[in-house]
Symmetry: C2
Subunit: 157 residues, 2 copies
DNA sequence: CAGGGAAAGTTGAAGCATCAAGTGTTGACT
DNA sequence: AGTCAACACTTGATGCTTCAACTTTCCCTG
């Protein structure tokens, strides 16, 4: 008794799949070429830079803000730490959380990479998109993200 | 002289990034668990099944329809061929194209996997999305995909 | 028709992501 | 005070993706 997708839905779905399959590689490719960074690397640095306290966040918090699993984040933080852009340190609050801090070098890398990345995002997404489209995009994407989170909750209970 | 993103744009962008980072893994996870398939594996089988002639397509055509590089596709087709779900054969038209054909076994796998996958897509994306949202999604996603393709053209010329 | 360049595909290596299993830590309940 | 489940990670193995290099085949242009 499967409810198949309507024509309209199917077309929208194929386009959305196209975005998933093409946008991430496109962003990766620009950042990799110009700054030897993954889009996910960039996100980590950016989220740390925007945290209030000393550019520092607990692993789980950073995982939440970057939409990543703790495992994925741990591997990436190790890489960034090897490059000296980030530093792990114990939390004074609890011995099971480890804090990640953006170093000065990491901040410089971010400052250097940001303009090109933002330019790419503008070019691929926002240029020629009217304000009502931006609003619709935020609404729809937000809705999808919420549904995914709800569904994860349901499956782990 | 970087034109940074407006507040509205930034919020929309973070949500869209969330979709990229969460939706693909969510789809992969369901298909992997229930059918030992990647979302990209599924797309390949599905695109072959919908081709007119004998469930057969040239590699490049399939790469186009699945938004993948030829290299990525080649590796995946090798895997699917090992499992007996797909078969490579030479094209009668030209000796440099290789055709990929969906086998009966591959068709059965697709038939078995489809309901669960469609159900997941409904649950994560389309349920509770009005018709005008679906239309907006198609329009916006289509726009982004176009811009990515244009930008690839520009950079290879 | 000869050569050169582009197109179609394959391959191997390197880097990423995911999964499952592990360690230590904490809070809650008895 | 002791136990036990849940939390916050980390690690190593496996599989997937990308990248660069390569082969074949085709087309075009002089």
């Amino acid at each position: 008794m499967t409810r198949w997708l309507e024509d309209e839905e199917l077309r929208a779905w194929l386009k959305l799949a196209g975005v998933m399959l093409k946008l991430a590689p496109a962003l990766d490719s620009q950042l990799q070429r110009d700054n030897d960074l993954t889009h996910f690397d960039y996100l980590c640095l950016a989220m740390l830079s925007e945290s209030d306290d000393e550019r520092t966040l607990p692993m789980s918090e950073l995982a939440g803000r970057t939409n990543a699993s703790l495992s994925r984040l741990s591997h990436v933080v190790s890489k960034l730490e090897r490059r000296g852009w980030v530093q792990r340190c114990p939390s004074p609050r609890s011995r099971r959380v480890t804090l990640v801090r953006l170093t000065e070098d990491g901040w410089q890398v971010l400052v250097k990479a940001a303009p090109g990345h933002v330019e790419t995002v503008r070019e691929l997404v926002f240029d020629e998109l009217g304000p009502e489209d931006v609003a619709a995009l935020e609404r729809i994407a937000g809705h999808i993200v919420e549904r995914i989170e709800e569904s994860r909750l349901r499956s782990t209970c």
